[in-house]
């Protein structure tokens, strides 16, 4: 009991929760744009994986983490372009396309790891270290929990605000949301549905890719097969839990980050629980939280429907 209390009150738990929530949040933010425009993008997992791989590749070759970010984003965009072309231009089934891209991303990254690095293992690469805010970083509790995070955390916060503003407070966002509710009506008002959906898809690819980049360069500093670990699918649940809002995606993602952080802290404490069962906890939590919230959700009306101008 004492141990549990100690875990729950330690600042490092909250720091870890934020760190672990970050990739899920970024993917969910991207998915929010895609789904608001009427596209289900199940390929988040593949985008994250490609982002993570590209980041490690770029960082390894150039020795610069910044180049790693750029290469990672390019890799994720590549997945988004296929998703966009098949589902927007060709009118192919969005979900099937996303599933195929997830399988393809697993295969392509596993293949490239073995083709590029001797021994089939990605090396340790240059990543990003934590950014200490002057003065604030030394504050009790909050200093460790919030003000000693990776620079990605602050970028993500900024993206959430920009995303909310763009989606909910600009005419571009209104039109984009219109595409998700009734693309035919939008088209008849002269709104370019195709172009807006392409923009949403590319934003989705960039955000999910950045999530993967952070997994690689902010956490593991290397690549391993399937390292996205289902986070792309947890992000799909986060979008629903957050009711398709970029801002509500923050607390929703944090909830999942907190569960994972808690599981990791308990694992390294003296509390005697099998570690494997703790590692299953985030996935159980996803189903439970999703089940509690889903009854009240109200998705975009045209979500997932193929729309091809006749």
């Amino acid at each position: 009991m004492n141990d549990l209390f100690h875990i729950i009150t330690s600042a490092t738990l909250y720091a870890a929760a934020i760190r672990l929530a970050l990739p899920i949040f970024l993917a969910a933010l991207g998915e929010t744009f895609a789904e608001r425009s009427g596209l289900v993008n199940v390929g988040l997992e593949g985008m994250m994986l490609m982002g993570a791989f590209g980041a490690v590749l770029g960082s390894d070759i150039s020795g610069s983490a910044v180049i790693g970010v750029l290469v990672g984003l390019l890799f994720a965009l590549f997945v988004a372009v296929i998703q966009g072309f098949v589902s927007i231009n060709l009118g192919g089934d969005q979900i099937v396309c996303g599933i195929a891209l997830n399988i393809g991303a697993l295969g392509v990254t596993a293949f490239l790891v073995r083709a590029i690095w001797a021994g089939g293992n990605a090396p340790q690469v240059e990543g990003f270290s934590a950014f200490h805010f002057p003065i604030l970083a030394d504050a009790p509790f909050l200093g460790v929990a919030i003000f000693q995070q990776s620079v990605f955390v602050y970028v993500a916060l900024l993206l959430a605000l920009i995303g909310w503003w763009g989606l909910m407070r600009t005419s571009w966002g209104l039109r984009l949301r219109g595409c998700g509710e009734d693309p035919l009506a939008c088209e008849s008002f002269g709104i370019p549905v195709k172009r807006l959906r392409w923009q949403a898809t590319l934003i989705c690819g960039l955000c999910a890719g950045l999530g993967g980049v952070f997994l690689a360069l902010g956490q593991l500093l290397t690549f391993s097969d399937g390292m996205s670990g289902g986070r792309g699918f947890i992000a799909l649940a986060v979008v629903i839990v957050a009711r398709w809002s970029p801002l509500l995606a923050i607390p929703s993602a944090l909830l999942f980050g907190a569960v994972e952080a808690f599981a990791l802290r308990v694992q390294s404490s003296s509390i005697n629980v099998p570690p494997e069962l703790l590692l299953a906890l985030p996935y159980v939590a996803t189903i439970v939280v999703y089940a509690i919230v889903v009854g009240r959700s109200n998705p975009p009306a045209a979500l997932g429907r193929t729309y091809i101008r006749q």
Binding site: V86, G92, I99, I103, L106, A110, F111, L236, L279, T306
Partner: protein
């Protein structure tokens, strides 16, 4: 024609992958084909490799026809293998026929429960099976990981997290040193799925639910019952696949029991367009391809991941071939080319 284009496109992707790996395409392809069907042993290995994928894919196909995506094949395979290994190790003294049957049945039940959970969550709580089946995959993996690291760990296994090997009396026979009994089960399962989809009223309800949920509801079909039924059935088939692989091939359960068969099964069912025959043929082909690549890996260094890339590419080409917009695009290019502006 669409199928031919998909095949050519997929082969082109494979060629690019081989060249990217720095391999000579012709001799590598020869090595893969030899490894897949070159000798009786190779054929047996190809069938062994095809069985779990195809069984799981048949389940994915049934769910797909009802408009549901079962991405939970891997979790269901783990649960099937867990059931089978549990029975095999607990009752080693049963007569072989009884033990084999009991292990297969309990394995199938394990998969059925795991798929059924996703079905119930979908039917009763409206949770997307795309999300829940993936979560259930990870939960199943960690449960198995816990068991093979703890209570079920082989004490004489030199530290590896695997169970003890099952006894000979629980192992599936191979007919004539060529046909694994799993392959016979696979054919029977494909036939049963064909009967279900094409010759029963339940099959009509399943397909009706998939093509128009609202029409089915008006016709008085219980969506909830169909959803739970197909997800349970999908899980059961994948679970059977896990049990068969355990009793006919691997003989023990470890953390890396399935090399992503569940996802490959999704691709196989989609390429087979959700039909029993299409799925069976695709499943055997993909099994042979995987087996061929695995055996060529010794001689030609072909990464197994190529198989995954190929099935993913094939699915993409099949979607494109079926897509309405793709037809439009082809027609537009064609009219521009031939100068016929009036469509």
């Amino acid at each position: 024609m669409a199928l031919g284009l998909a095949l050519i496109g997929t082969l082109a992707v494979g060629l690019v992958a081989l060249l990217a790996a720095g391999l000579e395409p012709i001799s590598t392809l020869q090595a893969i084909i030899d490894g897949a069907v070159g000798t009786p042993y190779a054929i047996r290995q190809s069938l062994t490799e095809a069985v779990p994928v195809t069984l799981a894919a048949l389940g994915v196909a049934v769910a797909f026809r009802a408009g549901l995506f079962n991405l939970g094949g891997d979790g269901q395979i783990y649960m099937g293998a867990l059931g089978a290994v549990g029975v095999s190790l607990l009752f080693p003294d049963l007569p072989p026929i009884l033990l084999i049957a009991a292990a297969l049945i309990v394995g199938t039940l394990g998969g059925l429960i795991w798929g059924g959970i996703a079905g119930v969550l979908r039917a009763k709580l409206r949770l997307s099976e795309i999300i829940t089946t993936i979560m259930l995959n990870f939960i199943a993996f960690w449960i198995v990981s816990y068991l093979v690291n703890g209570p079920l760990k082989d004490p004489g296994g030199s530290g590896y997290p695997v169970t003890r090997e099952i006894g000979v009396s629980a192992q599936l026979p191979v007919f004539g040193d060529l046909i694994p009994s799993g392959a016979v089960l696979m054919l029977l399962a494909a036939f049963a799925v064909w009967i279900l989809l094409e010759r029963t009223s339940t099959g009509i309800k399943i397909k009706g639910t998939g093509s128009s949920a609202s029409a089915s509801r008006f016709a008085g079909v219980s969506m909830a019952r169909i959803t739970i039924l197909v997800m349970g059935l999908a899980g059961a088939l994948a679970g059977l696949g896990g049990a068969v692989s355990l009793q006919g091939d691997q003989y023990k359960l470890g953390e890396f029991f399935t090399p992503g068969w569940g996802f490959t099964a999704v691709a196989v069912a989609l390429i087979g367009r959700g039909t029993a025959i299409g799925t069976l043929v695709t499943g055997i082909a993909v099994g042979a391809l995987r087996s061929g690549i695995l055996s060529a890996q010794g001689t030609a260094e072909v990464p197994a991941a190529i198989a995954q890339i190929l099935v993913a590419a094939a699915v993409l080409f099949v979607i494109v071939g079926n897509a309405e917009g793709a037809g439009q695009l082809v027609r537009r290019v064609w009219t521009r080319r031939t100068g016929l502006a009036n469509e």
